[in-house]
Amino acid sequence: MTNDFMLLFPVILVSLGAIGLMLAATSRCVQIEQAAWACGGLFGFAFLVQLAATLTGDQALYSSLFNDILVVSPFSKAASLVILGCGLFTVCSSLSYFKKNNFSSTEYYSLLLFAASGMLLLTMTRELISTFIALEIMSLAIYILVGYDRDNVLSTEAVMKYLILGAFAGAFLTMGSAFVYGAAGSTKFALIGNFVATTGFLSNPAILAGSFFILVAFLFKAAAFPFHAWVLDVYDGASMPITGFMATALKTAIFAVFANFLLADSGLQQGWVTFLFYIAILSMFMGNFIAIGQNSLKRMLAASGIVHSGYLLIGLVALGSQPVPGSVVAFYLAAYAAGTLGIFSALSYLSGKGEQWKNFDDFKGLAKTKPYTAFAISIFLLSMAGIPPTAGFMGKLYIILAAIQTGQITLAVLGIVSSIVAMWYYLRLIVTMYFHAPERSFAEECPSRIGTVSTLVLVLCVFAISLYPIAL
């Protein structure tokens, strides 16, 4: 039992911190800045604890907790490292963002911790009920964070859309779980997998319908085609740091539980592989075509998030070929998170009061006045586009290797074609920043030191992740 708690330590730390911070927020003597530092410190500490646990290796003996409901695997450890890192950098970018905007309060940071604790649970869960609970812990906190700027119309619209559609997705998940439980008699992934292996995937309509509903819920949260329509408005309405948090940590958590679900039920994975194949292709191309048409940087990044979901789905289709399960997906998530967080961290201090500068044209000539920031943004964009020697390139290489190894050559080729299309909108921002004359002075934003430092650290992360070897 003590070992169970040792492995759960990061989650416990983060959720206790969330409750503590929420209680502390009632007191007048806690300043917002103090709460932010406490929150960042908690993320940092939990990150170090998790890192230590990851580096000391996997003790297979104690890796399943609470009667196999939660399982700690190398994959879940890697995913929770990514989530904790995302949390830390989100706190940093929030600090610089709220220098210009003043709708923050102490509870904001408590909610970040709540969302993160839900995500951490999601990476470990191997059971449908706890999946639902973790998903809702995460989602409820995120709903509030999306609508935190109560006076902003866009933000209110975003939370409305996200809440209603998200509630639908939650309902789909419970419905699916009920069907699956009705057929398999268990909500544990492993036992469902055994049931499918013995009776076959197509023979039982309840399994078919149930797993379909569960997939729908996951695909909705991951913003994959055809459940991608909410992403643009929600990302646009949420504040910069929260958009960054949603685009990275939330996606990591969802893909972690998605991969765990498919890994434990290889029968289900086989059954749905064709479906996922088409979803991956359509997500990539739909996202690309939406992104090309955007004038707002934030909406472009939202659309590119759909494309990256498509790549991650390639990783899920090719799950079978990875000796260390999910390593390719985890690596891609880390690489994508570093790039995306970096951009949002830079935008947090560049977008100014009320996010008045978030279109492509607002960044004309940025390289002339802020060469270092422009350079950092270019690195992040190149990483998202998959140009070496950045992390995004290695992520893409691993995904393509895995796809070819499972014989999905079509998928690999289409993934490549999609990244050629994607070059257009990533390059567009670099061209705007470097090759156009400045139209405004950029003098209004005095970047806070914490913002620039965290951006710099993320640039280093982009290179460090690419050099880090993984076990494929």
């Binding site: 290489l397 290797l401 490549i416 090759f435």
Partner: protein
Amino acid sequence: MFAHLLSVMIFLPIVAGLILLFAPLSRTTARIVGFGVSLAVLVLSIDVYAGFTATGKLEFVEYIPWIPSLGIAYHLGIDGISLFILMASAVLLPMVYVLFGTREKGYYANLLLVEGAMIGAVCAADLVLFYVFWEVMLLPVFFMLGLYGGPRKIPATLKITLYTIAGSLLMLAALAYLAVQYHALTGEWSFSIEKMGLLDLSGHAAALALFGFMIAFAIKIPLFPFHTWLPDAYTEAPTATTFVLSAIMAKIGVYGVIRVVMPAFEMEFARYALFFAYAGVIGMMYCGLTAIAQKDYKRLLAFSSASHMGIIAVGVFSMNVQALTGTIYQIVAHATSTGVLFLFAGILEERTRTRSINDLGGIASQAPIFALFFAIAMLASVGLPGTSGFIGEFLIILGALKFNVAIGVLTGLSLIIGVCYMLWLFQRVFFEKSKTASERFKDLSPVESLAFVPVILLILVMGIYPHPFLRKIEPSTAQYFAAATPVVAQATTVTPALAADLTTEKN
């Protein structure tokens, strides 16, 4: 002589370039630092050249595992093929710093970055490492073209960047395919270029992968019909960028074909070689004819460069020792002649402020030294006996005739087109009546002349006494055709009847 010579040659310019980019230095300091670093690389490269023993194998090998579980390694080494491209870039780059003094700091920094990346690409003995340098090489070009280019620079920049990246991404898929095939056959992960030579892939997917590689390299060379980015980019780019693109980067495309495609896809390559060779010949003729019609001398040189890359491509696709040796020789000859012509064009543009041929005339009487040097480089570019161009082109045509008579004859014929536009250009710009733009054309200063002297000497020496150079090249090229049947052959689908069809010629 010390260990890690190649690493130093790669990372010294890259690190110096990055420092220049970020440090607040004046443009003169940047120029001096750039010149110093490129000279240091030149000295190191001479050390490499002297120490190179021409065994036909990789020399100066460095090997550090990077991602052991996938067999990806930091693996460097050079043989007789890469040596000459390495030498070309090390010898030619310092000239740029001497000749162009009025540029911005970023310009000099990017030149250093591109030098390091190009050396990295030719030294890489691991596919992933090669790909990394291959892509990094493009980024400085992107910024130099977009920041310091001519009036229509942004469309030109986007065109070259999207074109090249599209090609490279296809190559990424193809190289992943190679690695997976190697894993499937031997049970071991590896990205080593040497080991890929053990593969002999054939079949449908292999043909696709072959075309993935070929499109990437064809765009970089550029081979007909992937040349459409070239006139815009070459014309709009600042002189040094055009020079780098034409003199060295295009050659790395050819190098990629020789190093990666030929060994790994022996059978498929042989099947499509005739097709590629025709693409080379058509490109030669098409670009040559287009060059005749140009009114802008930089654009004319751009088409001429593309046309001459066609003959180099024919040399690769002819698949015999003579043609391949000629190709390597011609790579250096082309870099020192056509590449250097772009430098002359840059000087011409700086001093006359025009790119139109009609505005110029009678420069020979104003600037005899300039005219003499230009003439030597131009004659080398058209392959006059006694210059370096002759040896390379002769060997290539010899090999092409052996491969396919029609290809050989057409290659020989299209050289005549080259003579036409070059001599006509020379006549209009250097002779005839002096025009206002060229009336007060200043001749090369002693320093500038001194910068050109080594290259001009190299052109003449390589043309008159090619033996020492050929001796370094031949063991490596012979290696390609002397190799026995691949060690790891796939269950081959080649029937004897089909094998007879294939025009592979060993030796």
